[in-house]
Amino acid sequence: MAKITFDGIEVEVEDGTTILNAARKIGGKVVPPAMCYYTPLKGSGGKCRVCLVKVTQGSAKDPRPMPKLVASCVTPVQDGMVVENTLSPQVLEARKGVVEMLLINHPLDCPVCDQAGECDLQNLSYEHGTSGTRYEEERRTFDRQDIGPLIQLHMNRCILCYRCVYTADQITDKRVHGVLGRGDAAEIGTYIENVIDNDFSGNVIDVCPVGALTDKTFRFKNRVWFTKPVDAHRDCPKCSGKVVLWNRGSDVLRVTARKNEYGEVVEFICNECRFEKKEMSDWIIDGPRHIARASVISANHYELPVVNPQIIADLPESTTKELHLIPRPI
């Protein structure tokens, strides 16, 4: 076990844990953002550089600070390490710089982007970016590529996190897409036009932090904040069948995997569940999906009676059980 101090808060984690995961153990506002790191995908991380933190003390044995800011998602903790994230102006400055870099060539077509409302880049720029841009040059664009009838690729929006590449490597049995070219001409693509087609290919949509890979069957159907997310499941021979349905009235507009609070897929789902089961009768509803209060999707989305948590605690157990009341900070 290693004990580290993160933003002045002590936390004890297993050896070999990354700084980011140690911070996630603390939770709350001190957790650095992550655009490329994805816990279920081995080898991901270190690329987007938004999770940079300052290590002011390397370890108890060697108290020297690390010379540069380090990517918290790939740097393992050492016993006695002291890390600064929100406390360090240098880190916040660097993060602002990285967000600016991510945005200079981003098309900013949020009004027509299906990811808008659940986009990590939107959240990131809202929290850490600046309101204006200093970039006067023409934005970089790529030629359109068709990668099949199920997945829409918008390369202009891509931030090259490599998550979809790792997903195809680790979840599916054959990867047909990858990163072609280098520098700012690097793009996600299939070498010589190819269709991404296998049972689990749809998961690249869920892992994509931006609107570069979106669901073609949901394309321009609705804005996510008008849809109502509900947890549902079905008996699926290929996957766990645990999904989130995004409904408008009684229409199932979109099916996605369930994600945790850091936007990471809990269980990957198969293409049959995602693209073919679009009837309410296909699913058994588990209940409303919990959406963070800060998210735009939570507008008009009621999942719990608004009750003071203290009152719930005082209610008899039989009542809370019947009403599915779970004390949750509101």
Binding site: G46, K47, L52, A71, L160, V179, G183, A185, A186
Partner: protein
């Protein structure tokens, strides 16, 4: 004439053949090492020599070797980084082309020291003809029993392979090189873990520059203490300097570290002064990645002490008034050089060669190039100059590998030392964009 360690026999006819090379005393270090020394003793000698990595960073080679992890049941590798692509640096190519056996001898001795059974030379793809020279030399060694099973009857076996890269600058970064060698896309890895623990195919690996490896035989033959006597302070031994640009005698020179820079630049034995009798304006001292310096700051530090050709002396004054020895690629510029154009050119290179893995470098190098393009072509604004410095600060230190730093330093230093020239481009775009126009001093900046 200074002492020559690497290039002593470079002009001997037929030195590229094993026969002549052995006649000149070649492969003595292999015999000495594998027959009379343990591998630890060889590492110890190199440590004592104070030899520092010649690829640019100047990390002590012996120390790097001693960091190599030695887990049971895993092979160890030595990889020679011959992917010399830094603009302004061309020393390794000369060494490999003229005396291929110097590198191979170094590889065998070093591999023995590290306990490697297989070693690789990763050579730049553009140097295909050098690869053929090396392969021929390696075949000679196999035939003579210097490579392969049971070298010189000592029981030590080594296989040596030459592998060409695809021509990407980034593959000169050690972890990108290893990825490329494994057959993957040449993206630098996140560190830690360092190659000494997790290198080629996940095994402990040492990556060394050609020149560092080629220096090892002399150290083994003459002991590390002798090597440490050459040079000044912590900069020991000799170094190959590739001098190019506006000088009378461009070329590759072997110098003893500690030579005064003034002597190197102006004596006829070396560079022979600035060509056509022009003024010395600026210099890039260690390949394009290091900060550019104005001539006067290069010859003397800010305090006025004359600089020497050592790692320490060149970096005196930090990045405010110093630079780095780097890989020893001297690019000398006379007073007809436009610094803005030169910076734009360097920036174009880094934009083209960024691997595109991490965001600050992928986006920032392109941005800097576009701003510099605007400034050079007379479309810049005053605030562009500050923006340029700011963007370079956002890249520096925030990337996976040092390419981000390498792209940021030349830009930041050019603005630091030649800001008036940038301002001249903004204030007098018609003058600055005229063919052959060069900023000639403060009077140019005054309003006409």
């Amino acid at each position: 004439m200074g002492l020559k360690i690497l290039t002593e026999h470079i002009n001997v006819p037929g030195i590229n053949t094993l026969e002549t090379y052995r006649k000149m005393g070649g492969y003595r270090s292999v015999e000495k090492a594998v027959k009379t020394m343990t591998s630890e003793e060889v590492v110890e000698e190199v440590k004592k020599s104070g030899l520092r990595g010649r690829g640019g960073a100047g990390f002590p080679t012996g120390l790097k070797w001693s960091f190599l992890a030695k887990p049971e049941g895993k092979p160890r590798y030595l990889v020679c980084n011959a992917d010399e692509s830094e603009p302004g640096t061309f020393k390794d190519r000369v060494l490999m082309e003229k005396i291929p056996h110097a590198l191979i001898e170094g590889m065998i001795t070093s591999s023995y020291a590290l306990g490697a059974r297989t070693s690789y030379i990763y050579i730049r793809g553009e140097l295909m003809f050098v690869l053929r020279i090396l392969e021929k030399a390696i075949a000679e060694c196999y035939a003579a029993g210097l490579l392969g099973e049971n070298i010189l009857g000592s029981g030590y076996s080594l296989d040596l392979h030459v592998h060409p890269g695809g021509g990407a600058y980034i593959c000169g970064e050690e972890t990108a090189l290893l990825e490329s060698l494994e057959g993957k896309r040449g993206n630098p890895r996140n560190k830690p873990p360092f190659p000494a623990v997790w290198g080629l195919y996940g095994c402990p690996t040492v990556v060394n520059n050609v020149e560092s490896i080629a220096s090892v035989p002399w150290i083994i033959n003459n002991t590390g203490d002798e090597y440490a006597k050459i040079g000044v302070g912590r900069s020991t031994g000799t170094k190959l300097i590739s001098a190019s640009g506006h000088i009378n005698n461009p070329g590759v020179y072997e110098i003893e570290l500690g030579l005064p820079v003034e002597e190197f630049l102006f004596s006829d034995e070396y560079c022979g002064g600035i060509w056509k009798g022009r003024k010395f304006k600026a210099i890039v001292a260690g390949g394009s990645s290091v900060p550019i310096l104005p001539g006067e700051l290069f010859l003397k530090t800010a305090e006025g002490t004359p600089r020497l050709m050592t790692y320490e002396s060149l970096s005196e004054g930090g990045f405010v008034s110093g630079t780095m020895l780097g890989s020893g690629g001297f690019i000398v510029m006379d007073d007809t050089t436009c610094i803005v154009r030169n910076t734009w050119n360097f920036s174009r290179f880094y934009h083209h060669e960024s691997c595109g893995q991490c965001s600050p470098c992928r986006e920032g190098t392109g941005w800097m190039e576009k701003i510099l393009h605007r400034l050079e072509h007379g479309h810049g604004n005053m605030h562009d100059i500050d923006l340029l410095v700011n963007v370079s600060k956002q890249i520096e230190g925030n990337t996976i590998c040092p390419l981000g730093d390498a792209a940021a330093w030349p830009v930041a230093s050019a603005v630091r030392h030649f800001r008036d020239e940038f301002e001249w481009h903004v204030k007098h775009p018609e003058k600055a964009t005229a063919p052959g126009a060069v900023y000639s001093g403060a009077e140019d900046l005054a309003f006409a």
